[in-house]
Symmetry: C2
Subunit: 517 residues, 2 copies
Amino acid sequence: MPNDRRDRRPALRLKAVEIDTYRENVAYLHRNCSLYRAEGFQALSKVELRHDGRRILAVLNVVDDASIVGPGEIGLAEQAFAQFGQPEGTAVEVEHATPPVSMEAVRRKMGGDRLDFGDFLAIARDIRDYRYSKVEIAAFLVAVGQVGLDRDETLHLTRAMLETGDRIDWDEPLVADKHCIGGIPGNRTSMLVVPIVAAHGMLIPKTSSRAITSPAGTADSMEVLARVTLTPEELHEIVRHHRGCLAWGGTARLAPVDDILISVERPLALDAPEQMVASILSKKLAAGSTHLLLDIPVGPTAKVRTLDQALRLRKRFEYVGDRLGLHLEAVLTDGRQPIGRGIGPVLEARDVMQVLEQDPNAPADLRQKALHLAGRIIEFDPDVRGGQGYSIARDILESGRALAKMNAIIDAQGRNPEPHSPGHLSFEVTAERAGYVAAIDNYHLARIARLAGAPLSKGAGVDLLRKVGDRVEAGEPLYRVHAEVPAEYRFAREYTHRHNGYTLSEAPVEPFIPMDF
Amino acid sequence: MPNDRRDRRPALRLKAVEIDTYRENVAYLHRNCSLYRAEGFQALSKVELRHDGRRILAVLNVVDDASIVGPGEIGLAEQAFAQFGQPEGTAVEVEHATPPVSMEAVRRKMGGDRLDFGDFLAIARDIRDYRYSKVEIAAFLVAVGQVGLDRDETLHLTRAMLETGDRIDWDEPLVADKHCIGGIPGNRTSMLVVPIVAAHGMLIPKTSSRAITSPAGTADSMEVLARVTLTPEELHEIVRHHRGCLAWGGTARLAPVDDILISVERPLALDAPEQMVASILSKKLAAGSTHLLLDIPVGPTAKVRTLDQALRLRKRFEYVGDRLGLHLEAVLTDGRQPIGRGIGPVLEARDVMQVLEQDPNAPADLRQKALHLAGRIIEFDPDVRGGQGYSIARDILESGRALAKMNAIIDAQGRNPEPHSPGHLSFEVTAERAGYVAAIDNYHLARIARLAGAPLSKGAGVDLLRKVGDRVEAGEPLYRVHAEVPAEYRFAREYTHRHNGYTLSEAPVEPFIPMDF
């Protein structure tokens, strides 16, 4: 059909439109373009562009400003232009697009069907090639969220996301990684686990995210100390030399379908557990990990609220990990409160350095949790006897080798020459009555730290002065809030007036449990 | 909070960007804008703009071409700019947007909950005000499609869509309308019902759609004869004078939420029955109709396939219509084949004029169905005795008063001075064997007419020479295809080679049943 239609459809001249439409292909057509008028394109809103055997789908925007695109031109936004790969001025045929073929599988999922690997692979390929509009992706995600995926479907989706992207090969038998499913402020164990494990000699090329809805991601906290935006070449060089790194993971093209799905999940606040399993495991496998330790915090204000939920999630991770050749161990950890003292980039980096420097004021819970996690990773080493990991990790920390390794990594990535300090505006929140701290609301404390300016104001955040199990008298401080900007100081202050986020108990409460919660 | 934040967030200068983003608010920010870099806007992708108490939500696109927007500017696409209502150059504050509050109700629906009227009203208001991205609308529609709406929820949604738009008041006690739920090619009964009912003296201000996926809508066929794009003033003037019109309904702002929902439903090919009920009834009530006759064709290739399905749909329409004060009657009609002979704008207009002109070759099924529908509408008149409508309608047709009324409406809307004729390229499709026509596939014949060029090539389409119940011998023609362009002639021809769309039976078949199928 394509060639035959030329006798009636005029070709349009291709133009690059320098708009970044964030993982959606968008095409621009002038309202006075004869093709637009004839085809009634507006209603269907998705078009197919063709030239010389290349095809691309795009969502249509109509333009009234001829300096963006003129009549006779077809504009493509940056991603779409790059994907189409044709120079400006190319004669392009434009037609109504039919939906990607794999939408038929999405419709079957909407109807409650089970999908097979072929279905998921077709969906993932079409999503990777930007053949889905965001609306179609939302339909897929909501259908999956409502109908659910069984464990084999979760495996199929994970494998499909893995196979539609690049995959790093470190050419080593053991590539370790750790991941926390999130939701716990201050939980900066990676910045301790990486130097300890790397000092043991195990390869641990850790990449992390920046905060999106939290007060700090590992990349934000690490950035207080060192540069985190590394080229793939720099990252490889540092990892080969030092056995580990603490870099921002945002630049790689690993499991690109996951990034596209997340860009739609996030505004919808969707977080189906099956989707989480597929997202995390596809990314880790694509990054070349062979061994993964997964931290699943459990608590009333954590992402996973009950032990039962955590155990089901662990089984799902194990099922998929085992079948994809990933040695995976998932540990349930105490999620009744934030970890460490600081919440916010500078305060968290301070906690980490205190633990590494063996400062007597270092937060004990962060130290204990990091040693337990590092110990479990060290036990991935076939030469380490089961149960010996913790003491090896502790030796590495106490001998100063972990600190030396961290300094080597910081210098290799590029040490930040100007040390940040906590925000100079601060106030304390005190207990209204006496009692034992029973729980500290993770969401609430994260919100206070965000309002105080974290992560953009690096020194902003919360410093916890009492933790779960501690005794507190009326009027004693529970935590201190730091801000850099007067307005943010006021927002945080007003918010703490409503509720301080602490639950106190009359009876003594069991303190933090570092592992096997 | 709003005012306080000024001490740290720089304002941006507002700029109009002449891009029509089709019912979604889009904002444009330059990549080098300090605000963009600081806020990490990309990830969240939805922003709130504020000035002087006005707020607007928009999805963000990042721009690299300073001639579209420069650093320091915030661009708004046409709809968003009009909605914000501020002049270019206005100092605007821009922040991460929180999702519209009513998304919480959407999330409850995703979880399987029943929603109340307040929920639907909040959702409809936020959608009308473009506070939902298309992704959020898709989530709502897919959730509704999967969980379903009970009859009270359907009522709530209909009322919410009605209350969030304009409503026409004709200031008459009886405003009649008819509507067909679609799926039957050639079904141009409105072009007969309107002149008959208007000649009886009843007010019937009919607006119709253009074809989107079908070979012709009523507006496309009427356009062969007269202008159909009328201003609201013209439409009112014609209706007052002639008691009826046959206009395109695309310009009104009636039930705007319905238009926005449809713009997302269509690319997803969603068509939940509850959504159909809410869509049709909110539009009709907004248009000021007091009495509605609903045509529900039933057949194996119609939209509604079984009698059971049709009866359930009818009950749902009746339930909602009754509670919103609409006198509604729904009739089930014979949907085993297209109606009339022609499929395509010119061929359908020809059928209509043959019936009006009492041409002996006029298609009997179209004539019968139109008289039955018109008769039922005429019986809405309290002065007409039950059962007398059909003979009144027939008298109006046979006396020539329907033709005179149609000509008056055509002249009032603006008669097309150049009569179209059927496409000059044509071929016939013949029966491979003898038999009785048992069914004619509606989808298949519509597809052939579309491939032949309808509705853009007005003379293109299909002319049916045999209908259900007819006897046909091997080699006798079943239908004739018309095209205006050689390529389209070939596409249609190739397609008919695969399958001609006719089902033949050995035994005699009951012919078309005009009503109460």
